[in-house]
């Protein structure tokens, strides 16, 4: 640690050789560090450039930097006259080098940081600063449709791993001077770039401050994915519910920014974090807004039903069959009893068997290559289901219930919510097997008690359901026509509430 602080205090001298030694002491042991030392006609002095060759665009270095420095006079005839008059070498460099991005740093630490991120450091004899030239260039994945969040209607672009590309994707769609970014380096060892993005004329400054405070507290070797950031800054790490939204979709991020939320982009991952988030928000899909309003509203209500089904269906079956047979309508009761004939297990074991099988199939399907994954789905779903029933291990109704539950959890737009529901489903099943319907009510009360305690960056997790204005209801169960949603979500306490007039 002491070495690091020493380094950051070290600053450059006017001597090229000592500057070179300072830098090479830190990074010179690597074979990809290039030092070029040459006489510049344009400057009339000895200059030196240092870069890491796999991180820079060689064409730029050759044409815009080296050539310009060496043949500067040919390009700008008046230059030498200026040189003779003895203008500041920094200003002269500005005119000689044909690059958009240049800035000067004084300390070694900053300079090395930038060299490691692909910039080229330029020194001239007698100047006590390093000029950093924006020469970064590397391969990135092309922009594709996000696999995890596909839509029928809507833009097909998704974020990629490169932070600059991601910011540019946002910038291109928000032409607004209030688009604000705050840069951070995350990771003591890796110093990854992280950007907080928000619209300064909409977002509550207290929210931005809180996000900043939490990001600044992060002190970790590396954050390879935004999931690390999410887990480090979320409000309650003991909760099964996701308290920060993640998405690969550009339109989702833009919509959230316009609601007054904050986006956190991390280099190296296409997943952007959105904070704060409420539970109803996690059940919204982009198409709710792109389709006409009653389509969106109906589908959204269907989604709420699916959450309820995903949470309660197996446990309801367990409770009814093992405790309250009298409450099942008699015709249904007869068919359930006849289908359960010969099944040796109590319902809870039966249900757990099938649920765990489904979870195994799902997990296996993700890990395997796509074509095989589908095969596993077919083999698992059809063959195991069918043969388990024929073998008399589970009843067909149980298979129906378990598969319906699984499908309903696939229909939830947010994967992390679907996982939370899956976890809680097992809790409900255990509760139902211990105390029947009453156990389910208690488990429901427990879950409700938990979610009302939850907060995401100071915002109630249940959103419009608690402590809200009636206008928030327009976008919860229903998605009212766009012309009726004139205000941003009230609970975000945005600076500027009005969306349209």
């Amino acid at each position: 640690m002491s070495k690091q602080s020493q380094l950051s205090e070290q600053s450059f001298t006017g001597n090229l050789l000592s500057n070179r030694d300072m830098i090479m002491n830190r990074i010179g042991h690597n074979s990809d560090v290039v030092v070029r030392d040459f006489y510049s006609d344009a400057m009339g002095t000895q200059v030196m450039i240092i870069y890491i060759h796999c991180l820079v665009d060689k064409g730029t270095i050759n044409n815009q930097v080296i050539r310009a420095l060496q043949q500067g006079q040919a390009h700008t005839p008046h230059q030498s006259a200026a040189a003779d008059q003895g203008t500041n070498p920094k200003e002269r460099l500005q005119q000689i080098i044909q690059l958009g991005r240049m800035n000067a740093v004084r300390t070694l630490a900053e300079c090395i940081d930038e060299i490691l991120s692909g910039q080229t450091a330029l020194f001239t004899e007698g100047m006590e600063e390093a000029i950093l030239l924006g020469t970064c260039s590397w391969k990135t994945r092309s922009i594709e449709e996000p696999v995890t969040e596909s839509v029928v209607r809507g833009p097909r672009e998704g974020f990629v791993e490169d932070l600059e590309t991601n910011v540019s994707l946002l910038r291109r769609r928000i032409r607004n001077p209030d688009f604000s970014m705050i840069n951070y380096h995350i990771g003591r060892q890796t110093r990854r770039n992280l950007v907080i993005v928000y619209l300064s004329n909409i977002t509550n400054p207290l929210l931005v401050k809180e996000v900043q405070r939490r990001i600044e507290l992060i002190d970790i070797d590396d954050a390879p994915e935004s999931g690390f950031i999410e887990q480090l800054i979320e409000d309650n790490p003991w909760s099964p519910f996701p308290q920060i939204q993640n998405t690969e979709r550009i339109d989702k991020v833009i919509a959230s920014l316009l609601e007054g939320r904050v986006a956190i982009l991390l280099d190296g991952t296409p997943f952007v974090l959105l904070a704060p988030v409420t539970f109803p928000m996690l059940l919204q899909a982009p198409e709710d807004y792109y389709d006409r309003w009653f389509v969106g509203s109906l589908i959204r209500m269907l989604r709420y039903l699916l959450v309820i089904a995903g949470l309660f269906l197996p446990s309801l079956y367990i409770a009814l069959v093992s405790y309250h047979q009298g409450l099942i309508p008699s015709k249904l009761a007869i068919s359930i009893t006849s289908s359960r004939e010969g099944v040796p297990f109590p319902t809870i074991i039966e249900a757990l068997l099938m649920e765990i099988t489904i979870e195994v199939l799902r997990e296996a399907g993700i890990r395997l290559p796509k074509p095989i994954g589908q095969a596993v789905g077919i083999v698992g779903g059809l063959v195991i289901g069918q043969s388990a029933v024929q073998a008399g291990i589970v009843s067909p109704i149980m298979v129906i219930i378990v598969s319906f539950t699984a499908i309903s959890s696939f229909a939830i737009p947010s994967y992390s919510v679907a996982i939370a529901i899956r976890i809680l489903r097992f809790t409900m099943m255990v509760a139902a097997s211990v105390l029947g319907l009453y156990g389910m009510v208690l488990a429901l009360l427990l879950i409700c008690s938990h979610v009302v305690k939850l907060k995401s960056f100071g915002v109630n997790y249940m959103g419009a359901f608690v402590h809200s204005k009636s206008s928030d209801w327009k976008d919860t169960f229903l998605r009212l026509p766009i012309f009726m949603m004139k205000r941003r979500p009230h609970f975000l306490r945005a600076k500027n509430q009005k969306r349209q007039s």
């Binding site: 509550n204 207290l206 249904l332 009360l445 409700c448 009302v452 100071g458 109630n460 402590h467 609970f491």
Partner: protein
Amino acid sequence: MELRQDEKITTSQAVIGIATFVLGSEIVILPRVASDAIGTPDAWISIFLGGVISTCLGVVCAKLSLRFPTSNYYEISPKLVGKPIGFLVNLIYIFSLMMTGAYQVRIQAEVVRHYLLDDTPIAFTAICFLAVSTYLVLGGMNPMFRLFELLFPLSTFVFFLVMVLCLQDFQIENFRPVLSEGVLPVLLGLKAASLPLYGFEIILFFTPIMNEPKKAVKAVVASNSITILVYVTVLVIVIGNLSSEVVRTLTWPTIEVIRSIEIPGAFFSNFELFFIVIWVIEMYTTLVVSHYFSSLGISQLFSIKIKYCYFIVIPLIYWVAFYPKNINGVFSLGDINGYIAIFISGIVPVLLLLIAKLKSWRGQNV
């Protein structure tokens, strides 16, 4: 521009908070208790009258709390009547709250045994119920109000839906003749019929944390209207379905009525399921309020950290809940609780308000 919005409760949260505290066990037994006490089908008149009285008393409580906008019930009484008497009043109030909680625990355990889990020991269901309540209470006051806000619309909706389904066997003849034996039975039944309406004195705790304390009176009136509406609906529907003679013989008349709903052609007929579910939720909210505020009382009276009080209260509530040996004992526990409630939330606030007025007439700065 406040991002943190939870420090104070809104008026609607206060309304729901009071209503949800008042509505509890009585929904399932009120028709029997009321018809028993009155003997004629006029119980609904008693409820109305009782409602008017309780609303007046509620307004008294709200006025009292408005005189001390920053103190709750536990802090008001020592200020007005001196420490020793105030201590006693607070102790009685804490006990009354715990009894209310205990009564909910026991009644719900009995109903659950009767209708859902006949083999499970009621002690187990009661302990689970208390455990879930403890989990919520541990989060403090604001999550409580948020939970009420989350569940109250749902439970009210289901409640009225079920009540509407009960309408098909409704016979207006069951209410005739009106006032057949004069006004006297109605007045005599007033006590029994208005007992379930007590609980509005909880406003004395809400006013200091409301974001618009001036609306305390409105909040009490609004929540009392809700509770009166719910109780009158229950009473009218149940007596209208079964007639008051039959109602008197049933332990849980409301659930029995709902049980008998049959919609021709409908696949499903066990509507009491839904009702018991939302009713357990109502019981839970009542228990949570009594759990929290009795812990608060113990914490303030004996200056113990409230964290420990949440757990001190649990065995006390449990002990009170299981003190009665049988169901009749439970109901007489409810009666005793009712008398204490009349004293502590009816008479005491009136006296306190009078004392406060007297003091301010004498020019004392209170």
